[in-house]
Symmetry: C2
Subunit: 246 residues, 2 copies
Amino acid sequence: MICKKSNIDGAIYCAKCVIRKKSIFGSLKDDEIAKISKYIERKSNYPKGEYLIKEGEKACYSLCIKSGYLILGTYLEDGSRQIFKVIFPGEFVGFNNSDDYSYFVQAITDVDACVIDDLSVKELLKNHNNVALRLINTLISNSSSYQQYFLGFGRKTAQEALAYLIMDLSTRLKEQATCSKNKDELYFFPLNQEDMADVLGITKVHVSRVISQFKKEGLIECRHKKLKVLNEDKLASIAAYPPAPK
Amino acid sequence: MICKKSNIDGAIYCAKCVIRKKSIFGSLKDDEIAKISKYIERKSNYPKGEYLIKEGEKACYSLCIKSGYLILGTYLEDGSRQIFKVIFPGEFVGFNNSDDYSYFVQAITDVDACVIDDLSVKELLKNHNNVALRLINTLISNSSSYQQYFLGFGRKTAQEALAYLIMDLSTRLKEQATCSKNKDELYFFPLNQEDMADVLGITKVHVSRVISQFKKEGLIECRHKKLKVLNEDKLASIAAYPPAPK
DNA sequence: CGACCTTTTGATTGGCGTCAAAATCTGTGG
DNA sequence: CCACAGATTTTGACGCCAATCAAAAGGTCG
């Protein structure tokens, strides 16, 4: 449905892209990037809350996230929701080998993204081995991060899992330098308590209890979509895979 | 450590490989396969119980599983074990973008596998775009099966998760036609109760209780490493993602 | 400022972990 | 072919973590 051509001056467009280095096109040189640019179908802004990919929809395009945060997940029949991952700027989402998307992708902040038709992606992968290799690396990392999630959440108490999730996200956010420059300010944190619950597969009620406890113990400080880790060591030790020996 | 050359008559060897079509080399034609063969380092047999890949070891080779079953997982500090996946014949394991393996791979039956040095794999991926594309597809499927596992196990009761695991494995086994030809016989099933516990992240004691209950209800029949699903519909309905409405 | 959404708090219930020990199976050697 | 050691599975008692139901309180945004 988004698959229609628009006229972007690609050659310059992609060369200047802020997330270029981080993306699967990061290994390409300027002259190669110029060639890639012509594949970019459209650049779009999506408001917070919008579904960029709907579960069950025909799979025909991929997204390169330039800014903003998204969640990737699925709705179950009973209305509950499982979030598989939180997507950060620079990630490449939606490329698929099946006919329909088996997940949704929803913006949880305003998002800025490029759309690439999947046929173009395939052509790209065919003609630019570098890109294919880079994608392979990305996918391998992806699968090890799923494994980490299994460890981080799977066999853990709600406390351990939440500590893990908070550490994981706030670390990644710091790396992105998306966080506030001002030390005294709370950092931006993309998930609310219900989102966290749906990542971890626990109830939002219980998330609230654990978060309250963390606050009481002086481990974190938070409100709305801001959060700051006050005692990183302690939180990390609660989170640690190898689950804390009992 | 396995990385040393041996002399296999590759050209014929790979062309006749039983799992060729299923493998990441499945799209290659005979003449291309002949060229691939020279990359095969060694063909090996591993007895049940042997670790083909050890966690923390230097990552330098990949495996193409010709026959037998393996588990891929990690040991936690407290000695407990998390199994991430059960590996079937035809799968390609061990290719990695990090220095060390972050998981172990252990044979749970006698295994027959080809070893390929990772440098060779990289060269292969570079020179044979088909193979790279095929690997991309495999990795994408892999990541959706991790997502399925999240759903299948994550938010579920032990009953639901076990039903899911049994359905999943026995379905895959049937597709492989590895199962007995004789209808009255129990089918081969690669995991024991402790393995299942370590896949699902629950205790083996509880696995035993649930399995006993399934037997009592006439859903399955099993002993040692054999198992047969007697009431597929019922088991599937217990297993169903969308968790059974309560 | 009011409607809605998110978070908090309390009381109760049940699933699964834990500890412990018995029973059964496996396959190896005499 | 039988006996025995070790592995695997079974069973029971008990306690705790998190789900559930319910309702109030606080925050956000139009």
